[in-house]
Symmetry: C2
Subunit: 344 residues, 2 copies
DNA sequence: TGTTAGCACTCGAACAATTCGAGTGCTAAA
DNA sequence: TTTAGCACTCGAATTGTTCGAGTGCTAACA
């Protein structure tokens, strides 16, 4: 177990390193006003902290740098309290003050404010598409063979897909089919859509429409695999501001991950326990993120976490500020969404 | 006017520099098999070329590097012929071989193949939204105050927007209104939609529906300013592979432009004369692109250019190959789209 | 008159040597 | 237990040196 003095030293080392990016030496440390003992004492303590794995040297006679274990301890136990300025709070609030029309715009704006307030790269994940319920389905024929199938959810989200129509089916049939869908499937969560279509609707269709099955199958297929929901990024280029990424070789894998979007998407989608979570360095599973920390927070409507927002930065990240900002945005976002869903 | 020998030397210098990225000296040049004279002669010629502004020195005793004027001349008059390999042609063809369902996927794939074949950053702009015609309009009420307005175009593109509904209007009115729209506005180009709505439809609406005007205005407004069409990027991180951008300071403004998307969008939208266009270095208006060249090509349906595809790279770009690839992709894309539009 | 060989000169890149400062660990005294 | 002092280490910055690839210029040559 660490002594109080060791904790103090660890905290000051990490705080200083986060601020400066430079290895912290015993003399620098002893000059801090929070620290009352000599550099020699500090050296002894630092030697112990190093042996315990909380800090490291970059080379034999260098100052100390936090290890991942050190950051982990810091994040779990030593975070200095942080308050947002009035201006920050105001900025965040203004994002959510306007009337919401489109969920996607809102998520984009959330990402923007996050990267603006932190100077890191931010990511926002929209509410899982499958959570929402069917409000209306519509099929608009384009020509003899193709039509656009449109699904409107109760959240106002519109999903559409071009589908092929068998030649044996005419416009009348199509209309009948859509009517049956809308009668029977209103309010069904999209996630259950496939099942309901196969069980409840198939029978009715069979009675009214010839050749219903090939279209039905196409529809079921396309609707069951909705486009991956969108991930919204902001401040991608902020990554380049970090001195630890001043070397192109080190940014490239990172930018590749970010450009891909898919991996990040999956990573965030997994995040569904409430609250803030911090992944430091190698705790991240994705290769290329060894020098990064990812901080995620979920937002919810009522009690149910719907999606996540996140900040990606170097392991030497301003954890305290980021977590505070993230919490604030998440809770404002949750509030805005809750209000919005209630009005639906 | 340049002599034949000067042209030859200029071409060889640029070819070599594009390949190697290193300043080209007289001795290196004299060893090339295309060149039959001594390094001293070449030095004299190079001095002339430099005086004329086609090449530059990086420092007083260095080899020569093409100037923007040099690149311009090269692109206009000296491009070495370039043929695509069978494999390349095959790759391009395979992108357009599949049945097209969604325009956006197609554009995304076009961008991908471009960046894959060139190792530069590529950009694809979808057909201008306003070109297409109204196929069907639909309004789906979400609750008392809001509804989703959906517009389907003849190209299968779906545009949607959440709109507010005045409380005095009920579901029946809404339906009537939509019916009137669909009767009267079918086939109207979206660009004319606003006008037609105000002239042709307003009268009819007035006779049938109370309070039609506030909704109508909202609709007109939202539909008249459709979301900016999407720009598709691919290979953003390829920028980092270029040695001229190995310095973070030089990439940052560039990545910022790319991240913004808006400026690039405008730039490409302006491009509506047929064929390939090359902008070299300072010919680009955007700040941050001084070290870049942008090569754009338009694709068309029938005779009308609809959109553009482009490659963004360093001024030291493989112009010949890029232009060839771009031409090929543009023409295959045009063919695919033409076929597709005809089937609509 | 155009071409080329030769030569002195320039400059950047690469490398080694040097210095400087911030850091360390250890020891002995307070 | 703390701290002053000291020898030692190492990276970063600075300086000097060498090397090679380049240039421009001049004079001789075809």
């Amino acid at each position: 177990m660490l002594t109080d003095r060791q904790l103090l030293i660890l905290q000051v080392i990490i705080d200083d390193f986060i601020r400066s990016g430079q290895p912290v030496g015993s003399r620098t440390l002893s000059k801090k006003h929070q620290i009352a003992f000599s550099s020699a004492t500090i050296r002894n303590e630092m030697a112990d902290l190093e042996e315990l794995g909380y800090i490291e040297k970059t080379h034999i006679s260098s100052g100390r740098v936090p290890s991942e274990k050190g950051y982990r301890y810091y994040v779990d136990h030593l975070l200095p309290p942080q308050r947002l300025t009035r201006a920050d709070i105001q900025k965040i609030r203004s994002v959510f003050a306007e009337r919401i029309y489109e969920l996607e715009k809102l998520m984009q704006k959330s990402a923007q404010i996050l990267s603006e307030l932190t100077n890191y790269t931010s990511i926002a994940l929209g509410p899982a598409f499958k959570e929402s319920k069917l409000k209306r389905m519509q099929i608009v024929p384009l020509n003899e063979q193709t039509a656009v199938a449109i699904v409107v959810t109760d959240t106002g989200h519109v999903e559409n897909r071009v589908v092929t129509i068998p030649s044996s089916m005419d416009a009348g049939d199509l209309e009948k089919m859509v009517n049956i869908f809308n009668e029977r499937l209103n309010g069904v969560p999209l996630i259950d859509l496939k099942e309901k279509m196969e069980t409840e609707v198939a029978d009715v269709l069979r009675r009214h429409i010839r050749n219903y099955d090939s279209v039905l199958n196409t529809l079921i297929e396309t609707l069951d695999a909705p486009e991956e929901e969108k991930v919204f990024f902001a401040g991608k280029a902020n990554m380049l501001n970090q001195p630890e990424f001043s070397d192109i070789q080190k940014v490239r894998p990172l930018l590749n991950i970010i450009e891909q979007e898919k991996d990040i998407y999956r990573l965030l989608r997994k995040q569904n326990q409430k609250g803030v979570r911090v992944s430091i360095g190698h705790e991240n599973e994705l290769r290329g993120m060894e020098n990064c920390s990812l901080i995620t927070a979920t937002y919810s409507v009522g009690d149910e976490p719907l999606g996540a927002i996140a900040i990606l930065g170097p392991t030497r990240m301003e954890y305290s500020r980021v977590i505070t900002v993230l919490n604030r945005v998440a809770s404002d976002l949750s509030a805005a969404l809750t209000k919005w869903y209630q009005s639906q």
